[in-house]
């Protein structure tokens, strides 16, 4: 797997955010997007996920040398964690995850859904909260529940937009562990962040001003 994009230009509201941006992420690599507010980190991630059309340039996901198509959206191969958590306050923590597990994993994988959910709950230290309605969770706990979604369905690419928002130090370590495990297993991750995530040998891409380059 390889995420590859060339000469991306992003125009929002008639204003050019960045141009001539190229990036290349191989399986087993993590790319951190750095840059000041308004540099286009979120726009780039939304572009990679397929929400935004690039004004110019191409985004491709190559699968072992064989191209999956021309200008495909990476959507189905990625997890996108944006500013919003996608957590239903009427559902318990476990019900929230169970829905995403069922919805996101179109076909069944080897492990049963329940086991996958338990594992994801454990990975983000949510096991003790699993029967509490998500509406009662704190902001950081909701964020952890949102991040646990990453683990309930297998996706080769993780797109994380400010994943550490409202997480405490311990939870940031949990997140770093999850990303490290994902990358070590041959996955790819692209994360926009202002904080040191603690991700091993990550590359960085500095956005800001005109034309970021790797």
């Amino acid at each position: 797997m390889r995420l590859f994009s060339e000469n991306l230009t992003c125009v929002r509201g008639g204003r050019e955010i960045f141009s001539g941006l190229s990036l290349d992420v191989q399986g087993g690599e993590c790319l951190l997007l750095l840059g000041p507010n308004g540099a286009g980190k979120t726009s780039l991630l939304r572009m990679l996920a397929g929400y935004l059309k690039p004004a110019s340039g191409t985004i491709r996901l190559e699968d072992g040398g064989e191209e999956t198509g021309e200008d495909i959206t990476v959507g189905e191969a990625c997890h996108f964690v944006g500013h919003l958590n996608g957590v239903k306050s009427q559902f318990t923590v476990r019900e929230n995850l169970a829905f995403w597990a069922c919805f996101l994993s179109g076909e069944k994988n080897g492990e049963s859904d329940a086991a996958v959910i338990e594992k994801a709950l454990g990975a983000f230290a949510l096991s003790s909260l699993c029967d509490i309605p998500a509406g009662y969770l704190s902001a950081g706990q909701k964020r952890r529940l949102c991040l646990a979604r990453l683990l309930v369905a297998a996706r080769p690419l993780w797109l994380l937009d400010e994943p550490t928002v409202s997480l405490d130090k311990k939870s940031q370590v949990l997140l770093a562990n999850a990303v490290n495990a994902h990358v070590a297993g041959g996955g790819m991750a692209v994360a926009a962040t202002h904080l040191e995530l603690g991700i091993e040998n990550a590359q960085t891409l500095e956005l800001g001003g005109r034309g970021g380059r790797q």
């Binding site: 996920a49 397929g50 929400y51 935004l52 059309k53 959206t73 959507g75 189905e76 990625c78 996108f80 944006g82 500013h83 919003l84 958590n85 996608g86 957590v87 239903k88 306050s89 009427q90 559902f91 829905f99 995403w100 069922c102 919805f103 996101l104 994993s105 179109g106 979604r149």
Partner: protein, 222 residues
Amino acid sequence: MSGFKSLVARDIRLALREGGAIGTALGFYLIVIAILPLGLGPDLNLLARIAPGVLWVALLLSALLSLDRIFLNDFEDGSLEVMIIGPLPLELIVAAKSIAHWITTGVPLALIAPVLGLLLNLDINAFGVLVLTMLVGTLGVSFIGAIGAALTLGLGRGGLLLSLIILPLYVPILIFGVGSVMAVIVGPSSFTASFMILCAISLAAIVLAPWAAGAALRMKFQ
């Protein structure tokens, strides 16, 4: 298909837990029909004559109240954003959410209509037909409504705009819904003809509305 089913089941469970979601539409329907005889006076013949039309108009307005619920909550908390890049095509997401809306709003409204019909002295022979036409008609109401809900998503106070866009599209459902009930009560036109056209409208809405609403949602996330 498991994604489709789980989405329908989730939306129904959410609506049940919210309570207010179903309650608002049902409560509005009940209130409108209950105060109408008070305003018109106790002329039973008049009430019986206008009952089918009034029941249908009030049903459409009640359904309208709940339309923004189809996408708004999921849009605001970010669930919709995750769904639209998921494995389920956007058109099927719209269809699943419309079906859930029909089950949680259209079906309860249609089932309570005969009870409210009693308040309006509706001919007792028409009760079965009323429920049947409303069950069919509300399916179209939910699917067409999804277009409006998608178009006005995230506009803030989009309620008026939603009504302006959607109510004209409900006119055929209203005409043929009332027409088929009236055919049973007073004749002489045929019930089958009106009912078939009503079915056709709902079927067309089921097929076409998900594409339109899907396109509107794609635009929203640009």
